[in-house]
């Protein structure tokens, strides 16, 4: 450890090498365990899982499952984020609303999103509407709470200075309050993105007729473990990719709000 620390150049190639080594070892161990278990239905080898993944990606019917799940995530995430920022700004902006709504928000936040599937299907019917409700429900609260945190961390002295120089309330809001809350909102949205994946899979398993969550859960009837693994790998890859795309896009697109921060 100390030697590596003293020569960062040396460490630059060691780290990816160790990453690759770890993955290789794990895949080999997986393969060995699968051969030892010798029951491909219950425990597939990496190769059978990969070929199932290939099937899921090439078969047009199964490929739509991924598209459907991703569409649910993106629409629900977008609606939940917009709603979250709106509600968060409302609560954060008006004190008397905050006193009323904050306890309710904290209470509702503690209720598991998927538990709402029952009232949601009764009110909105089986299908897209109730699934979307669950994803929006899962995404809205982290955004609200982080918007509130962002609004309460606004540097007081900056606001005082702006007021001293005669800035209007609107101008203070636009030039000081919003910019300082943006990093918090982005963090909340990134959390929400993870929650939207978690909740969409849960909702599809409980009440869905399609999507990756349904594909995985449905495969258990046919003991089709390779397809389950393909679905799991796809979800992991999609989640990782969405997270990276979102964080890079947010930091590039909103770079001016991160000015002066060492670690954006």
């Amino acid at each position: 450890m100390n030697r590596a620390a003293s020569s960062p150049g040396h460490w630059r190639w060691q780290r990816p090498a160790l990453n690759v080594l770890a993955v290789l070892m794990a895949v080999l161990a997986w393969h060995g365990a699968a051969l030892w278990k010798d029951n491909l239905l219950v425990f597939p080898t990496p190769l059978t899982a990969l070929s199932a993944l290939g099937d899921v990606l090439t078969d047009p019917e199964q490929r739509t499952e991924l598209v459907i799940t991703l569409r649910r995530v993106i629409i629900g995430f977008a609606m939940g984020s917009v709603l979250g920022v709106a509600v968060g700004s409302l609560i954060g902006g008006v004190r008397s609303i905050a006193m009323t709504l904050e306890p309710i928000v904290h209470f509702l936040r503690s209720v598991t999103p998927v538990a709402w599937i029952v009232p949601a299907t009764i009110w909105l019917g089986v299908g897209e509407g109730s699934l979307r409700f669950i994803v929006v429900y899962a995404t809205v609260f982290p955004v609200i709470i982080n918007t509130l945190a962002g609004l309460s961390e606004v540097p007081v002295n900056k606001v005082r200075m702006a007021r001293t120089f005669g800035a209007s309330r609107l101008r203070i809001y636009r030039t000081i309050i919003v910019p300082s809350a943006v990093p918090y909102i982005v963090t909340g949205m990134r959390l929400s993105l993870g929650y939207s994946f978690m909740s969409v899979v849960a909702a599809e398993m409980v009440a869905g007729r399609d999507g990756i969550g349904f594909l995985i859960y449905d495969s258990r009837i046919f003991f089709d473990t390779p397809t389950m693994f393909a679905g799991i790998l796809l979800l992991g890859a999609a989640g990782l990719l969405c997270d990276k795309v979102f964080s890079v896009a947010a930091h590039r697109g909103l770079a001016r709000f991160y000015a002066g921060q060492v670690n954006p």
């Binding site: 160790l18 998927v114 538990a115 009232p119 389950m228």
Partner: protein, 279 residues
């Protein structure tokens, strides 16, 4: 030295004053808050009356009655106990494993590089995606549900613990070494306590996720639990019971979260970088 101490004392006093003022302001506004919440409950009741189908959209009165019935003579206490027992067992095992994993990967770069790909990939696989394989491998009983909760908590706790270990103020480590602390003592006396706030906040996130996982797993099939109560409500198309279960879920989640925040305030702040004046 003395100036910084005095500055810090002033800051603490100012902070205390501000907190007192904030508390007084809260007390002054409390009636507004209570009135607002009453207004929302009345609005809910009115909306449900206007809807006219108390079984499909129960108002607060119906929900309250269902809640009281369930709590006094019904199955809510047993169901909550079953769910909470699952959450606690899974969380305990998962957090212990996560702390171990995080401490290892936080204190050695080689181990970090070895663990990193798995933590980064598994973190993004929703726990419930593993439900179908878990059913095949571990059966439909308790083991598969607890395994899912362990999975939910282990990576969040590991990531936070590793971040905590890396954020230990370097000067504290140096000082302990200067005074001749052994590596074991350094670990238990400095590194572990300093990463406690991070560990606690990781467990707090894991707790919320664990509730989500357990309810879904119970909805998909279990002998008892709050998730079972919710699915029973669908079978009977009786939303009153579902609302009562939702309220219990929210209350349990909120209480558990508050307990954690309390623990964090009580034990976490003592060693955090801020109270010690930065790294």
């Amino acid at each position: 030295m003395s100036t910084t101490t005095r500055a810090r004392a002033d800051a603490v006093a100012a902070d205390r004053g501000r907190r007192g003022a904030a508390r007084r302001a809260t007390l002054r506004r409390a009636p507004v808050a209570v009135a607002g919440i009453c207004l929302i409950i009345i609005g809910w009741e009115a909306f449900s009356r206007a809807y006219g189908k108390p079984l499909l959209f129960p108002g607060p009165v119906d929900t309250g009655n269902a809640l009281i019935d369930g709590l006094t003579g019904g199955d809510i206490p047993a169901a909550s106990a079953a769910s909470v027992a699952r959450v606690l067992t899974g969380l305990l095992i998962g957090s212990a494993a996560g702390v171990l994993l995080g401490l290892l990967s936080g204190s050695s770069r080689v181990l970090e590089a070895l663990f990193e790909p798995f933590i980064n990939v598994f973190r993004f696989i929703p726990p419930l995606a593993w439900f179908a394989p878990a059913l095949l491998w571990l059966g439909s009983g308790e083991t598969s549900k607890i395994a899912l909760i362990v999975y939910t908590s282990v990576f969040v706790v590991a990531v936070n613990t590793a971040a905590g270990v890396k954020a230990v103020p370097r000067n504290m480590v140096r000082m302990a070494r200067t005074y001749g602390a052994s590596p074991v003592r350094l670990f238990f006396g400095v590194r572990l306590p300093a990463s406690l706030p991070y560990i606690f906040s990781g467990v707090r996130i894991a707790l919320g996720n664990a509730f989500m996982t357990v309810v879904t797993a119970e909805m998909l099939g279990a002998s008892s639990g709050l998730g079972v109560l919710i699915t029973q409500g669908t079978a009977n198309t009786d939303v009153r019971g579902v609302f009562a279960a939702l309220i219990v879920l929210g209350a349990l989640g909120l209480c558990a979260d508050r307990v954690f925040v309390g623990l964090l305030r009580r034990y976490g702040g003592r060693f955090s970088a801020r109270t010690l004046g930065g790294p």
